[in-house]
Subunit: 204 residues, 2 copies
Amino acid sequence: MSRGRIDKRQAILEAAFRTFARDGYGQSCVREIAAEAGVAKPTVYNHLGDKETLFREAMQAAVGRTTADALAALEWLREPDGEVRDALENAGYWLLRSHCCADFQALRWLLHAEAARFPDLLDDFQRNGAERLHEALADRLARLALGGRLNIGDPDRAGEQFLALLTGPMERRSRLATREVPDTELRSLARAATDTFLCAYAAS
Amino acid sequence: MSRGRIDKRQAILEAAFRTFARDGYGQSCVREIAAEAGVAKPTVYNHLGDKETLFREAMQAAVGRTTADALAALEWLREPDGEVRDALENAGYWLLRSHCCADFQALRWLLHAEAARFPDLLDDFQRNGAERLHEALADRLARLALGGRLNIGDPDRAGEQFLALLTGPMERRSRLATREVPDTELRSLARAATDTFLCAYAAS
DNA sequence: ATCTCTTTGAACCCGGCGGTTCAGTAAGCG
DNA sequence: CGCTTACTGAACCGCCGGGTTCAAAGAGAT
């Protein structure tokens, strides 16, 4: 307990992310974050010291949380027993779900909005989030191609296009995270993306 | 000239968009906008009355400017004489260029960042920008399908996927508008998107 | 030249927020 | 019981930015 009780710190970070996600960085005042955490304002400064580092800490925690979800969706592509089509569709569906959840949407929004003020956070997200997902997806697709279940020349490009076919139409439906996309729509989006993807990359 | 000289108003709006695009809404102070426009601060308030309406006016002008560019790219799909592949690739390339230009990137960034404070602006952009592009693209594709040059069941879905295949990979390359994407890369992105699109929708 | 309307610059008010200080309190611990 | 450490609440400072006011200075038209 070098710097106060550890649970208070945790509560502050969670409250901070909630508040930032709701109001944005500029519109969130530390008073409110402290209130949301059920804590006095000096306690916040005692633990985190600064509004900037408070933001950084809260965001980095969120990056770790959300990337795990996205990577987990790729497990559907690990040595599927049945049809490749089903595996792709399921993976696509869960990828869409992970991209739809409130935390992920808020994270993307904040990173994008504050990219000028916090370029390092954006870098961190690209490297430890987006790029790791692309790599893992390319790996899975390469395995499937090697096993003769897909016909892929460039796994990186194929993965990129699969993600694009999934998330592009979804962002149109969600209207930049303004609208909640119902589950049945997510399913049909995953199906449409899989259909087109397989037209291009099905095993010959 | 009900409210002062008309050219001053124009200069103020242009300076406003430049400043907002550079620093964001919250970080732009009216002092700076006035200075950028070569005008005194009360003049700004005399013409636009408010920082909010200043923002609204500047943004709506930008929406009109940029959507025209995107729609112009679709002219490549109007009754192509040569190969459909070439028409698609050219249209894709120019669509990417229009999505890459500084104004469009800034517009998207500002809309996304301030969506909570200005939901009406986002609505306007969706209706008069994004949706009109989707409709026009679907129309072009339907024509090509009717002429037997493509094999498309649902033109709306096909257009959506074409745009996704274009912009998805590009946004990865541009790292949320942080990096300038070179022209040759845009070309190869358009080619890759066209290839995959044609695998799914080439005339049988 | 005169009248009117716009513009200017500078000062000013006001509210909000980041960050600090401080006296007091609760809690764990010997 | 006393010591230490964490926490609280409230007041406080300084700064900045939106918006206004006002007297003085152009600039156009007749």
